[in-house]
Symmetry: C2
Subunit: 558 residues, 2 copies
């Protein structure tokens, strides 16, 4: 990892207050920001980031210090139906792919180093026992691998950028890892229709940069964009920061090329926005987390890039005010609103204390919001934003705020939201939850859990207390809360106080126990809180239909 670059921008302070009507164009925010800039390339927005063994932020600890999933989840048993990897199997794969693309643990001096990053996840919470990593370069190779595995009852874990948060992309036992990193070509882009066709292994940021040069944008953005792959994004139905504006991948993905467990290549890479000729089978693969097939390519509708982007950051006195600000943003910003994020004051305090960030606003506020607009006309957008800001200031919905005046400042304000997660891991670990809850009740859960932790004597300032804090932030525009409980150590008492309590709490409000992170290994036991028995039965039917031997991503999902 590169040494941290310290950014020292001189932004002048926002002049808008509730006493006098602001002229936004004259606002000059002032703040000193000092933080790392590598966040987008080295960690997932929602991942714990790369802590060293002392809990610092200076580099990842070796994967080998991570506890095996089989130790953390001793109740999961290896399914005896799966074959154990033999010399014969390895020879087949090495002949098929070459030894560079069929890497066996312990064979060369550095091989175990090669294998370990594929066995463990970014959060350092899951670690498998895989001995073999396969890196096919074509859909035909993926097909040959899967057919062989299916015929020989070898279990397989499909893996993209391995930035997931629920343990879905690493093995539990000795499953073979099939990593898509070598399928990384952009196949075509049509500037008139905005349709991109690309291999599954293309890094999200690479795709977005490619599109930026062509005045378009990938309709998905997330903090992990520097590592995650677009095939993984589709197979986990990633949500992220642009969903409010561009909708879900179920709407924007036009086609999928995938390989089924029996080796069938499903070529459905439509270049059409409209095609009503039968069941939309590809939809099943969006969000299936590699359990019914392996996505090898996608076609996707990409919007034109907005020439005007504005970002504002506010302090607010209550969660109620944050809701009012959101309603006002929808009314005043209309079609140019592209993100509305909420962060509680505790997250911003942690950002300041752990990462040394000087926050954009002076003083502490219980809540903060980040509003982004993207539009085609700078003057129009500024005027809309000014009307919005006048409204929220005059009605005292917002206490204080800043407005970015340059691309650098846009990035700096976004960092106040995007860098939260890496700081939360500072004390040793984080219990992370990703919930959909009706907006009005979203923050109640954070307060409820904080109270519960305090009452149980688990939360406190000293080392005797496992829990450091209970914080909430997330995509308010999508009613998606990230509830995080930073801890000094993972502790069964804390876990028991959290689960299933908060899943029950969410279920009672018809929420979702996984808004965008998926099920993977860690949410699998709790799917019943968000899906009825009938729906679970229907889902199992689909799994059995496509993967009757159950070789794909076993022990997970459903």
């Amino acid at each position: 990892m590169a040494a941290p670059t310290r950014v020292a921008a001189s932004l002048r302070r926002a002049a808008f207050s509730s006493r006098h009507s602001p002229c936004i164009k004259n606002i000059r925010p002032a703040l000193q920001v000092r933080w790392k800039t590598e966040a987008t390339t080295s960690s997932s927005t929602e991942s714990v980031g790369q802590l060293d063994s002392k809990g610092g932020l200076d580099g990842p600890a070796p994967a080998k210090s991570i506890k095996f999933t089989t130790e953390s989840y001793p109740n999961i048993e290896r399914e005896s139906k799966f074959a154990k990897l033999s010399e014969k199997h390895v020879q087949y794969f090495q002949k098929l792919l070459g030894s560079d693309s069929a890497v066996l643990d312990g064979v060369t001096k550095d091989a175990s180093e090669d294998i370990e990053p594929f066995n463990a996840d970014w959060m350092r919470k899951f670690r498998g026992h895989a001995q073999l990593v396969l890196k096919p370069s074509t859909k035909e190779e993926v097909s040959a691998v899967l057919k062989y595995c299916n015929d020989n009852m070898l279990a397989v874990v499909p893996q993209g950028g391995n930035t997931g948060l629920v343990g879905g992309s690493v093995p539990v036992f000795d499953e073979i890892v099939l990593n898509l990193q070598k399928m990384n070509n952009i196949r075509s882009f049509d500037e008139v229709s905005g349709i991109l066709v690309a291999d599954a292994g293309v890094i999200l940021e690479v795709a977005d940069n490619y599109l930026a040069e062509r005045q378009h944008i990938f309709p998905l953005d997330l903090g992990a964009k520097g590592s995650c792959q677009i095939g993984g994004n589709v197979s986990t139905n990633a949500g992220g920061l642009r969903l409010l504006r561009y909708g879900s991948l179920h709407g924007s993905v036009l086609g999928i090329e995938a390989v089924l467990p029996d080796g069938t290549i499903m070529e459905d890479l439509s270049l059409l926005r409209k095609n009503n000729t039968g069941y939309d089978i590809k939809q099943l693969f969006i969000g299936s987390e590699g359990t019914i097939g392996i996505i090898t390519g996608i076609s996707i509708q990409c919007p034109r890039r907005s020439p005007a982007v504005n970002v504002a950051y506010f302090g607010l006195e209550s969660y109620e005010q944050a809701q009012k600000a959101f309603i006002a943003a929808k009314a005043y910003l209309g079609e140019i609103l592209s993100a509305f994020e909420m962060m509680d004051g505790r997250t911003q305090k942690i950002l300041k204390e752990v990462a040394g960030v000087k926050l954009p606003l002076e003083g502490d506020h219980p809540f903060y919001c980040l509003v982004e607009t993207s539009g085609s006309n700078t003057d129009h957008d500024s005027e809309k934003l000014q009307n919005f800001l006048e409204h929220v200031m005059e009605s005292e919905v917002v206490s204080d705020g800043v407005l970015a005046e340059s691309q650098t400042q846009v990035a700096e304000l976004w960092a106040c939201r995007e860098r939260i997660t890496e700081c939360l891991g500072h004390w040793g670990g984080v219990y992370k939850y990703d919930l959909s809850i009706p907006i009005a009740q979203m923050y109640d859960l954070v307060e409820d859990i904080r109270e519960r932790m305090t009452k149980d004597g688990l939360l406190g300032d000293t080392k005797d207390h496992p829990v450091v804090d209970v914080v909430g932030y997330g995509h308010m525009g999508d009613a998606n809360l990230h509830l995080n409980v930073p801890v000094r150590r993972f502790d069964k008492t804390v876990e028991k106080a959290l689960e299933p309590y908060l899943y029950e709490w969410t279920s009672k409000r018809n929420g979702s126990i996984s808004a965008e992170h998926g099920l993977g290994l860690s949410k699998k036991p709790y799917v019943g809180y968000s899906k009825s028995e009938t729906m679970i039965k229907l889902m199992k039917q689909i799994k059995n239909l496509y993967d009757p031997n159950g070789i794909l991503n076993p022990y997970k999902y459903i």
Copy 2:
């Protein structure tokens, strides 16, 4: 049907020309429009409309004069596995639903009149032999009906507003019609999230009017909105006029309540924008045309209604200019562009000649476009539109145009697009095709077919020629062409000259043989032109999984 209301608006003429830069705010279009206003409540945008027996436009002919589908498609045989309706069956249904909701043909004096509209379609092209129509009022009733039918091998046709264009919503033989019209309650609407929950049988226009009172909009619009039902819209994955802006139903439908053939009630009416807890089963039901289950309710994300709506209508000298205008519209109008429709000059001429419409522009142009913007700020939108118009006039992309200045004028300009279809049936019938084709090649097909019809001596001005004209129009923004061949009589020679030729033409360009109309009965044999053998095999798997007895909508789809 109400007597036609004649609208005599005095719109002044558009002042914008390519010679002097226009000041849009001063434009006063001038035109006299004289046409019926009942279009939206009595016919589908894409249907042939209601011709009387003389081919006039004054009222529907009795359903009994429509040829039976079994005569038009003599190769389709009734499947012997299905039971014939018996007295015992009828008694069961009448006890379950009451005799008002289980209507048997020929039982009362008017009963055959009651049955016939459920047997025949709007286009007067398909007519079945159903003897029984069921109108359940609850999902439990739908469940009891389906379970009984499944146990007794009775075939069922689910029916919404019966506005489809491919013969999907009427029986072929003696299938029981299950009509959703009595399930017509709006269940809930949340003004903060914009999420509507409603019964499947709610009329689209009723839903949209309900939302309009609450400053929201249904994310789908089509000419048939006065008759079609939202459950039918979802089960056919209707596209329509707002897709360019609000995307497909795969993105906006959040949840579905459906009854499976065995009577299982699948309750998946999520109120969440994000919910990654398993396979998104509901997606299979979107566009499944009632072949795997019957949708009884939906939850859907509805956008806020735009306070500012502008509509402009242009004449252009070539299809190339129309493409240039579309590219300019995307660039200049950006996020406020909500529709871009193309109509060839022939459609507008027919509109004038058949319906007596005085067109918005003087003189004839080979092509016309209709552009709609929807935004949150009237001034900003007008300025964006002015910039766009200045560009297309100065660069001589557009030859002439008008801009609507009132709600009435907006409706009048839209009618130049929406009323095409009803006029095309004037001479006796229409061969209708609904294709997705890459934009650049879209109109080539119309010219190719016109040439082919002329060469074969099929197209001409006299009664000896079956073909009146070959015209094209459609949703240019979605690369969706409606190719229409108005004829004096349906004629096997014409049909053979058209099919499979135009499906082959479309397939060679990787297009879709049904962009938004679906497969139904008429497109079923041609699905292979748009889907590979593998995809067809996977689709058949799904059908067999959900409906192993094949009782739902037999003889259709796949």
